[in-house]
Amino acid sequence: MTDILQLLVYGLVLGSVLTMGAIGVSMIFGILRFAHFAHGDFMTLGAYLGLAFISAFHLSAWWALPAAMVGMAVIAVFIDQVLYRRLRRTQPVILLIASFGMALILRSLVQLIWGSDNQTYATGIQFPWRLDWLGGIRLKPDHLWIMLISLGLVIAVHLFLTRSRLGKAMRAMSDNMDLALVSGIPAERVIMVTWVIGGALAAAAGVFLGIDTRLHPVMGWTALLPVFAATILGGIGRPYGAIAGGMIIGVSMEMSTLLIPAAYKPAVAFAIMVGMLILRPQGIFKGTL
């Protein structure tokens, strides 16, 4: 029983990371109609930007988070303006190819700048709390922070989407692009904000991954498949579905280690995704197919 509860906690931590990635993928799909294959490498680059920032200013590990989020938001907008924007008038699938190429470009940049070895944020050795009231499971402070900050970011995104004019415009554009244009909603500005949010959340996911384990040039690429699985599970183009999708995928991946070798964790995400594609391709929350 303790094992299961412990894995549940790990699953929720992983789910938080995946959710941060999946919200961005879902939003970008909703607005720009393409699956953003560079999102995993956005996570990687974000994590390394955070590392660069804290080592340059000798700060503690958590300072990596805000630095990475700001840096990645800027880079995401820059990549969109330089590359994706020029391809917007063609079919969305060309954007998909371009993003696949961008994924490799970013990864090789990370390798060029920071090398291919594992690195860490050096949080020091943490003593996990033992929660006797919860069957004696162990909880690391870092894990608690990852979950709490993710929750905070999700709430912030929710408030932005439902309360702010720009957030509502983003949902409107995702609903009906032509009508948004006719209503005078400035598409380019909404797209820019989409990249700011998508980039910042991807960076958060990357920093969380780095704090939980280590930094490596393919860390984000490895996470991309589970992130896509979470996105599809929640209904592609539906940021709220991404939260449920992220948690389900995260928990299933961790729980699966009770039954199968841990090396096959990504396969679990993939299997759930394929099952979903067969049974209910629009996702739990009926995405914009």
Partner: protein
């Protein structure tokens, strides 16, 4: 006096093929103008071209004397022109209120006055303001769509087949609303399949065929014209 809208000899269409072959359209302030014509005549195309959604290859569009040919839709909205497409004219996952807010996206200042004005015209929207537009009936969605367009306090309202797919009762109601809107001093340019009823409330009408003006006259005169009657009014 200056026309509100004046489109002269416009040519344009999709992918290098001109659907509009020198179309002329004119709307005076306070007028209701109806465009009728057979399928494929270019009625909707003309509306889209005027509103900047399609490229005009030749010709000129003026709004209150100012050239607006090929201006972006955003510019049209800023000038006070509102357009309601025929299909998919609401944001389905947004609530009624949010749909209306999106109509006024470019407008500064107090939203509530604009909302009140729309709610007065369509009291049902006030009741349903929290409902998702996608879950509403066709007639209600049409109200949301018109309400969204009216949020900018337009001087010219362009409607593409506002009664398409509605029941006869709702068609009557829609034309009543259009008359009310026009009575507030808003010029209306609309494409309609229900030619008889539309011409009955129209000040003037155009008959379009193969992208050209075929007839142009007052509503009553077009209704009385035997050729027009035979072609479009079901004999």
């Amino acid at each position: 006096m200056t026309n509100l809208l004046d489109a002269r000899e416009i040519y344009g269409g999709y992918g290098g093929v001109d659907i509009l072959q020198g179309t002329n359209l004119r709307v005076a302030p306070d007028e209701i103008v109806v465009i009728i014509g057979p399928n494929g005549a270019g009625k909707s195309t003309a509306m889209k071209a005027v509103f900047g959604l399609l490229r005009i290859r030749a010709g000129e569009v003026r709004y209150k004397g100012e050239a607006i040919t090929n201006a972006k839709p955003e510019q049209m909205v800023r000038r006070g022109i509102a357009y309601v497409p025929q299909e998919k004219n609401v944001f389905p996952s947004l609530t009624v209120r949010e749909n209306l807010e999106m109509g006024a996206y470019l407008m500064k200042g107090d939203l509530s006055k604009r909302l009140d004005k729309v709610y007065t015209l369509f009291p049902k929207l006030a009741e349903r303001r929290r409902q998702q537009a996608g879950l509403m009936s066709g007639g209600e969605r049409q109200m949301v769509a018109m309400g969204r367009a009216l949020m900018i306090d337009p001087e010219l309202l362009m409607l593409d087949e506002p009664t398409a797919g509605l029941s006869p009762l709702l068609i009557d109601e829609t034309f009543e609303r259009i008359k009310e809107i026009n009575a507030q001093g808003i010029g209306v340019l609309m494409v309609e399949q229900n030619a008889k009823q539309a011409l009955a409330i129209a000040d003037r009408g155009y008959v379009l065929a193969t992208g050209r003006n075929r007839h142009e006259d007052t509503g009553p005169n077009l209704l009385a014209d035997p050729e027009v009657a035979e072609m479009f009014l079901g004999g």
